[in-house]
Symmetry: none
Subunit: 273 residues, 2 copies
DNA sequence: GACTAGCATTTCATATTATGCAATTTATTT
DNA sequence: AAATAAATTGCATAATATGAAATGCTAGTC
């Protein structure tokens, strides 16, 4: 048995002990499909997995048959409805999500503000629960919506309370995207373009010090948000709870709403000390 | 009444055309795992799939390796974190409005009736898609049109399948408006003026019991409508689909058109149960 | 603490079936 | 309309999934 040097690398063995090779191979394809941003051609998927197209095609046939994948009828593939259902089944087994979700109406009643629960998914913070207050109706948001990391309060919480390895990939791609529209960040972080690393770690520290993150009306015009993490026993964010309002005074540090939010998240975090 | 053990059996063609048998078999196992309520023993899973335990074990090894399943270390299996992530990826790509909109022509063809899709907007149910049938119905409806809550089928659906906080404001203003023209409701709800709260909650219950709402020709003279919700997995109305016709028999409970509508909305709703 | 029962897991010889090349069909571009 | 590229299908072969049986665990019982 040869000892490898790269124990730091997060590459998993391409073959699982006691598993089935073709299935391992197929599941890599499924992951790659999930990591894609939308409809993807068979060839691209095959290339990304390093397998011949003929193999990819047969795997995808089975996935489509099982409902995990869909095809638009001509050569482009995407995740299917079944994938969503299995994911929601997995979601419903996470006790934290259920507990928080059940208590969410209470938070909305106490604060009078729309609240939502997000978990960290492959494409960033993903909304999994959603409780609307009377006041504003945000039509562009809904279950399954994903937030950016840097320009949303929710994203900033995960950035500060999640291991770096989980966020770096998405962070990188978001930075390149932002470089083309630097105005998005320039007010809050004047030197982001020049020294992103420094600016970002400053943002992380600030979030950790406060215990929550906020954004003003720039991400969604006219709306402000405050987000706080529910932490697990390792002090990593298990999920984030976000309040969305049109009233800027609601996200000030000593605002009643922010206090209620922190109280709420503390109650569900692993360590109550 | 004895419950059979194989209530979790997935019924569909066991083999996919052009797919891979072992993968098909494995994906059935994954579905069965998802259908379970929690931690499940290897043997039970194998039994539910009708495969030998040795096969199930190897499949599960691969699923665990890919992160789609977890084991508690001794023989009990559950969905894993990866399942949730893939599901959320699928969810985030699913634009329900577009999906429903794309399928709308099919519904119109099947029913022969004009259909429209509404979401809940700031001023009530708002038409976002519509598809006219061959037999033209002369109306002034169009994209962006908003419906009243009490006097339209569409509005009644949202009233019944949306949290109270979202509808109360509009409902109140609508009630004051109606009080000046009580004849609008008096036939259907004789005591609305005297006891609005009671009448309205009766209406909500009726809608929820039926699973859809209808109005006859009073709101728009000569036209009738039936509306049913597309529910998200919190059982809240994500959107409503409405059929509009000049034929009163089309909105009777056992009319073909109503059945097609319910079939249609059920297909797009998150949880079927 | 040893024994047993009921699991899950691993081994191993065998045949099933996944594989990749090449051919064919289908879509896309010039 | 012809040509190019991509997806899909057929087929012979070798790789590998398979199930019976053996082994290894865990939990419950005396």
């Amino acid at each position: 048995m040869v000892k490898t040097k790269d124990q730091n690398l997060i590459v998993r063995e391409s073959q699982s002990a006691g598993g089935i090779q073709s299935l391992d191979s197929a599941l890599v394809l499924l992951e790659v499909l999930a990591a894609q941003m939308g409809l993807t051609s068979l060839g691209d998927l095959a290339k990304a997995c390093g397998i011949p197209t003929t193999k990819a095609h047969r795997y995808l046939s089975s996935f489509v048959h099982a409902g995990l994948a869909q095809t638009d009828g001509n050569g482009r593939y995407d995740l299917g409805k079944g994938a969503m259902e299995i994911g929601l089944a997995a979601l419903s087994r996470r006790d934290i999500v259920n507990a928080v979700g059940d208590a969410l109406p209470e938070l909305v009643r106490d604060t009078g503000i729309t609240a939502l629960v997000s978990v960290w998914g492959t494409s960033g913070p993903t909304v999994v629960r959603w409780q609307r207050a009377a006041a504003p109706v945000i039509t562009s948001l809904g279950l399954g919506t994903t937030f950016p990391i840097l320009t949303s309060a929710t994203g900033q919480v995960f950035l500060a309370y999640l291991p770096k390895v989980m966020t770096t990939d998405l962070l990188k791609s978001e930075l390149t995207r932002i470089r083309r529209q630097p105005y998005l960040l320039e007010n809050t972080f004047p030197d982001t373009a020049q020294n992103p690393t420094k600016a970002i770690s400053a943002l992380e520290n600030e979030t950790r010090e406060l215990g929550y993150a906020t954004v003003d009306g720039r991400f969604i015009p006219g709306l402000v948000a405050a987000a706080a993490p529910v932490l697990d026993w390792q002090n990593e964010a298990e999920l984030a709870i976000t309040l969305i309002s049109s009233d800027p005074s609601a996200i000030l540090p000593d605002a009643m709403q922010v206090q209620k939010l922190l109280e709420f998240t503390r109650e569900f975090s692993a360590s109550r000390g």
